[in-house]
C-alpha cells in the first residue's frame, strides 16, 4: 500500500467515525436514553407487533435500495476513478459493507432493551439503512464493473451517449448481479428481524415467566426466508459469460 492509499484509508475511516459519534451524541441528547432496563412500556410487546413495525419499513427499504443503485451508477459512470473523492467514497462503502450484520443487530437489541419508543423506531431505520445501503452499492458497483469494456467501447464508437450505453447495455447486463445483491440484503434484514423477535419475546416472558417461553414460529419462517434469499443471491451473482 502506498502513501496516498494509506491517507485515503485514514480519511475514510476518520470521517465515518466522526459521523457515527455525531449521530450517537445527537440521538442520545435528543432522546435521553437512560439505563432503565425493562421498565417503560414500549408498544412492542410481542413478535407480531414487531413484524408489523418491520412491514411498515418496507417502503423505506425499497427507497433505500433504489437510491443505492442509482448512487452506485453515479459514482461508477460519472466520477473518475482517479479523483480523491471517488477513492474516499469507495473506501467508506467498503468499510461499511464489511461490517458484520450482527453488529447492527446487537446495536438494535441494546437499544431495544432500553425500550424508548421513538429511539427504537429511529434505530430500526438506521440499522436498516446501514444494513442495506453499503451492500447494495457494493454489489451494484461490481456488477457495473463486470460489464465487458468491449461492449462499452463498441456502443460508444457507434455513437451511443452515456445514457444509451447505460440503459441499453450496462444495466441489462448488470441486472442479474444487482438483484443478487438485493437478495443478499433481504437475507440480512430477515435474519436480524428474526433475532429481534426472539429478544422481544424473551423480554416479555422474562417479565412474566421464563420457563413458559417458546420460540415463535415467525422466527423459523424468517430464518428460512433469510437462508432462501441467501441462496438466491449467490445464484444470481454467478458470473455468466456472454
Amino acid at each position: 500500500m502506498n502513501r496516498s492509499e494509506l491517507i485515503i484509508q485514514i480519511i475514510a475511516l476518520a470521517t465515518l467515525t466522526i459521523a457515527c459519534v455525531l449521530v450517537w451524541v445527537v440521538t442520545t441528547e435528543v432522546f435521553h436514553v437512560e439505563g432503565e432496563i425493562l421498565s417503560v412500556p414500549m408498544g412492542i410487546d410481542s413478535g407480531s407487533d414487531l413484524i408489523d413495525r418491520l412491514y411498515s419499513m418496507i417502503p423505506l427499504l425499497c427507497v433505500a435500495m433504489l437510491l443505492s443503485i442509482a448512487f452506485a451508477f453515479y459514482i461508477e459512470e460519472w466520477l473518475s476513478e482517479t479523483t480523491w473523492y471517488y477513492r474516499i467514497i469507495n473506501q467508506q462503502i467498503s468499510i461499511l459493507a464489511n461490517i458484520p450484520s450482527l453488529i447492527y443487530g446487537i446495536l438494535v437489541i441494546c437499544i431495544f432493551l432500553f425500550q424508548v419508543k421513538e429511539f427504537l423506531n429511529f434505530t430500526l431505520v438506521l440499522a436498516i439503512v446501514f444494513l442495506v445501503v453499503p451492500v447494495i452499492i457494493r454489489t451494484t458497483q461490481s456488477a457495473i464493473r463486470g460489464v465487458d469494456l468491449s461492449v462499452r467501447e463498441a456502443a460508444y464508437a457507434l455513437g451511443a451517449n452515456r445514457w444509451q450505453v447505460i440503459t441499453d447495455h450496462v444495466f441489462p447486463r448488470a441486472f442479474p448481479k444487482i438483484t443478487g445483491g438485493i437478495f443478499t440484503v433481504i437475507s440480512r434484514v430477515l435474519a436480524i428481524a428474526a433475532l429481534l423477535i426472539i429478544v422481544c419475546e424473551l423480554r416479555t416472558s422474562i417479565i412474566q415467566d421464563v420457563s413458559s417461553y417458546e420460540i415463535s414460529s415467525d422466527v423459523f419462517v424468517l430464518i428460512s426466508l433469510a437462508l432462501l434469499s441467501c441462496v438466491l443471491s449467490s445464484f444470481l451473482q454467478i458470473n455468466r459469460n456472454s
Binding site: 461492449v151 460508444y156 457507434l158 456472454s242
Partner: protein, 257 residues
Amino acid sequence: METNNHSIETKNLSLWYGDFQALMDVSVNIPSGKITALIGPSGCGKTTLLRCFNRVNERYGNVTTKGEIKILGKNIYDPDVSLLELRKTVGMVFQRPNPLPISVYENILFGLRIHSPFGSLTRNQADEIVEEALTSVFLWDDLKDKLKARATSLQLEQQQKLCIARLLPLKPQIILMDEPCSALDAKGTLAVEELMGILAGKYTFLIVTHNMAQARRVSTECIYMFLGELIEHRETQALFETPEHPKTADYVQMRYG
C-alpha cells in the same frame, strides 16, 4: 500527396495522457477511398492516433489534445460538431471482435436505432438494411438463418465481419481498424483483407497492423510511427523498398526483411 483529396488531415497534433506525451506534432493527410496502414513498434501511439479521429480518447480521463484534426474538411473540435454525427461518419473496428451481446439482427441495427428517433424504422426497412449490410460483408448466406442468434456465439471471423457490417447502415465515410485481424486465424485474416479490398473506394480505411506482410498486401499508403512521432509517410511499396528514414529502414528490415 499532390491531390487535395484527403479524408483526414491533422496539423501539429499532440496528445498527453496526464503528463505523458503520447503523440508529438503529428501532421498527416489520409487519402480518401484508399487503405492506409499505420505501423510501428508497440506503444508508439498508433491506437492513440486512431482514437483521436472519432474522439473516443476523450473517454479516458486526463487526456489533453492540441493541434487540429479535420475530417472531411471539418475541424472535429469545433463546438458545433456533434459527436453523434462524427461517430456516424467515422466507424471503428477493434482488435478483439466486439459484437454487442445481442442478436445478429439487432447488432446491425444498433447504430441506426441510436441515430434515428424511436420507432421510425419499419420492420421491412429493418429487414432490408440487415440483408444489405450482411450481403456487403459476404455473411448473408451464412447467417440468414441465424439472425436471431446471439452475435457473441458466432465464429471470430464472422464476428469481426459483423463488426464491419454494423457500421455500414450508418453510411460511414471512414473506417478505422485497430489490428482487426490479430484475433483471427490465417483464413479469417485473408477473408477480412479481401473484404477491405472490395470495400475500399467506397470507404476510406485506416488500419493499424503489426503484420508487415499485411500492410504490404492491403495498403496503398503506409505510415511509420515511433515513440509518438510520425517518422515516414509514403506509398507502401516505396516505404518498404526504399525507406528514407533510417529508423523506418531498421524497423522494416527487422520485422520483414
